[in-house]
Symmetry: C2
Subunit: 480 residues, 2 copies
């Protein structure tokens, strides 16, 4: 129960009880307080307004008498559910300023599930396998122990413990060459992309993007007026030769070397060296989005591009969304020392820091080994889910699609047989409860777009995945 914002004025010619009555009546009529909402006790209201209880009692008495308020013995006084509709729709009382008439309140917005969370939703980890109880215990413990300093403002770069833990993890597991003072903790990888764009790219700058590429990265990198230049990928990843032939100066290039989004291949070692040499010679920055590098099924991972670069021209982006859970909203940048000051300035115009509670929990989760243990356990889980998806596709969808790449990550890319439109397929799948992602919107050049689907398997059990491939087969109208 919030106290109504109600300006009363002792000096006005109108008696206080009348001002209070009129204030509440108007607030009810124009919907600022709604039927069923509780109003304060006369004592609380009098105290809040700094007046005696008498005018408040008089005003409430009249509001009750006229049916605007209703008393429920034992639980307080409420705006009446029975305020007649015609009263609610009446124009505002004379003397008030004109307002747009908004008769009945709009219904509360329905929660959207952000495109659906059905089988094949990409970027969804195995939430059923998350060590939920241990995590919740840590959250509870840190929430109870939160100090005043931890509730206040703190270092925009992140807590020291978390930055050290992230640097240790990245050096060891991903071969990233970094110190903790290069780690910038941010609110997820999308925020990291947006901060990188603001730090490196301005109006008229050019940034090279994988074609096809991650649409949200394209939106973030182009948001400040930079031009995104598509550079094709082939089976070895980004075509550095095509990048080299680009005549106008490119200030940065965005790549997903571990697991190309959307197509799934990894950037070969030869291409990596070529890309880093190009960046050094052209003094361009490389933005490495290592969004789901942790899982690889076919061969050992190559490690991060950043770790191969002697010239410190790589901005490295990682996220906890795909290893832990998306609603956590925590990610990080590893920033070359020469850019650190610039990134910090930009970061503080975006948001001053990331929530401290989750930083404390994450630092413990990493440094106490829970994170590494979870990662290792998930390798087996995802290998089985991937195998189930591939088997299901072979059984139910053969002939209508071909698997393009399934070496790594939490989704596989498939290409649809000629004549099948991927957006239409996604719509029809949605009607059957499946949340696939179309490949063609990942192309900047729609004329060259291939028709395909990204099928996420991380968030679904083997049984659900096989069942989903059966439905997919029906939707595509094909059989082996």
């Amino acid at each position: 129960m919030t106290i109504l914002h109600l300006p009363v004025d002792r000096a006005a010619g109108v008696p206080l009880h009348r001002q209070i009555y009129e204030g509440y009546r108007r607030a009810i009529l124009d919907g600022r307080i709604r039927p069923g909402q509780r109003v304060p006790s006369t004592r609380a209201l009098a105290e809040d307004l700094g007046v005696s209880r008498l005018p408040v009692l008089a005003a409430y008495d009249q509001l009750l008498h006229e049916g605007y308020l209703a008393a429920r013995p034992g639980s307080g006084t409420f705006v009446s559910d029975a305020v007649p509709d015609d009263l609610l729709r009446s124009p505002a009382p004379a003397g008030s300023r004109p307002r747009p008439v908004r008769a009945a309140p709009r219904p509360a917005p329905r929660a959207r599930d952000y495109g659906g969370l059905g089988p094949f939703r990409v970027s969804l980890p195995a939430l059923d396998q998350f060590p939920h109880a241990a995590w919740a215990r840590m959250v509870a413990r840190h929430a109870h122990a939160l100090s005043h300093a931890q509730m206040a403002y703190s270092d925009p770069a992140g807590t020291t413990a978390l930055r050290v833990a992230v640097a240790d993890h990245l050096r060891t597991a991903r071969g990233v060459r970094c110190e903790a003072d290069q780690v910038l903790v941010v609110s997820g990888s999308q925020a990291a992309l947006r901060i990188t764009a603001a730090a490196l790219l301005g109006e008229g700058d050019r940034v090279a993007m994988e074609e096809p590429g991650y649409p949200f990265a394209r939106a973030a990198l182009g948001a400040n007026g930079a031009e995104t230049v598509p550079v094709p990928v082939d089976e070895e990843g980004l075509s550095v030769a095509r990048l080299r032939r680009s005549e106008r100066r490119v200030r940065a290039v965005y790549v997903t070397p571990s697991h190309q989004y959307p197509l799934g291949m990894s950037l070969t070692a030869a291409r990596r060296f070529a890309l880093l040499e190009w960046a050094a010679r052209r003094e361009a920055w490389v933005i490495e989005d290592d969004y789901d590098s942790e899982y690889r099924y076919v061969s050992r991972p190559l490690g991060a591009l950043q770790g191969m670069d002697p010239n410190e021209r790589v901005v490295y982006i990682g996220t906890f969304s795909k290893v832990l859970f998306p609603a956590l909203r925590m990610g990080y940048l590893v920033v070359p020392p020469a850019l650190w000051q610039r990134f910090m300035e930009v970061r503080t115009t975006f948001d001053l820091l990331s929530p401290t509670l989750y930083q404390l929990v994450l630092a413990e989760f990493l440094s106490e080994g829970h994170f590494a243990r979870h990662l290792r356990r998930m390798r087996g889980v995802y290998a089985r889910r991937r195998a189930a998806l591939l088997a299901g596709l072979a059984r139910h969808c053969g002939g209508r699609l071909t698997v393009h790449n399934a070496d790594a990550g939490l989704h596989i890319a498939v290409l649809l047989a000629d004549g099948l439109d991927d957006r239409e397929a996604v719509r029809r799948m949605a009607a059957r409860g499946l949340t696939a992602t179309a490949l063609s919107p990942c192309y900047a050049d729609q004329a060259r777009a291939r028709s395909g689907l990204l099928l996420g398997f991380g968030g679904f059990t083997e049984r659900r995945l096989v069942e989903a491939t059966r439905v997919l087969g029906e939707v595509l109208g094909g059989s082996a």
Copy 2:
């Protein structure tokens, strides 16, 4: 303990045990794994590499023998603390690519307290009065009960429950005219400003700012290449007459009508109507930053500017940082319906959603009345702290400063006597443990800047405030 990223290749001419030995040796020498860091058990490593234990045992044996690793019986195997410095500083082994030599790891970054948290720090609420135990219990309960859907992606606008609760609160307490479907939950008011800037302002657009004004708002609004146009404030707030005389088109104007930042006055009713009429006629947007409107000591608050606008041209920004605690990082926008789609597009390029756990906790905190109760209790707390600060200033600092405005909010603005430089005063105060904010950097036009201080009183007890004014008096070298 994370497993080292270690590419082994059965097909290579080098035996596996040699590859593993060489991989670990290099990782230790170039600092990817550090003295004292634990290495995995031979069993775990063999499993992870997909090789038998024999080559792993052989490699570990050699590493132990050469002193790179050390076994601690009962607790595992670690990188030796005694790896000689000259080894660590040696160039990388032949055949590896050149890298910048970074001999010893840099020390872990020291935590910065973001400009200090001593007495007079602005924007700091009474953390000692926060209902910490009740809040922590709610956090713990929601953390334990978090469903899979709540761990996944969800509506970028925020959870329905929180949007409804925010809309109810704003309608009732601030006179904001809004429905829940206009509420966009974001990561604090800085994020709200940056999203607003990206939604409304592009390269070459002009946005009017209060002069003096909030420097972080100026940075956020100008970040995409928009030009900020300073418009002076006087005792009635922003000079709408000066805004009207501005010849070139201004696309938006940023105001803090409830409590002007930094000077503290509120925008008068006459100016409010004039501003809204100007905005309607010029089809400009008004960005209302209601950052600490909840507390007013002198008269009843005027309510939000947004609620007086029949034309839906106001973008309203609020935050929980100053009512609850800053490290929460939660704020919200109330967006005019005509701009909703645009704001949602921009928001998803920034960060996909705000952390769900805190959204659930906040929704309960608001709808169960904890929030309103806390607000009401804090009114008395802040009134007493403000009075203590004013009394202390009168006693210890008279003659060296004059109080400019102390009507509202969590800080008061004072002007320094002629000849006192506010930045120098802030530096000298910092040396005595005080965290004041200088007024002059709030001016875009430094030639007209006044010398003054913003003295936050929300986060400090009466005793600490009085003691701090005594120190301030000494620093300013004055006496009554």
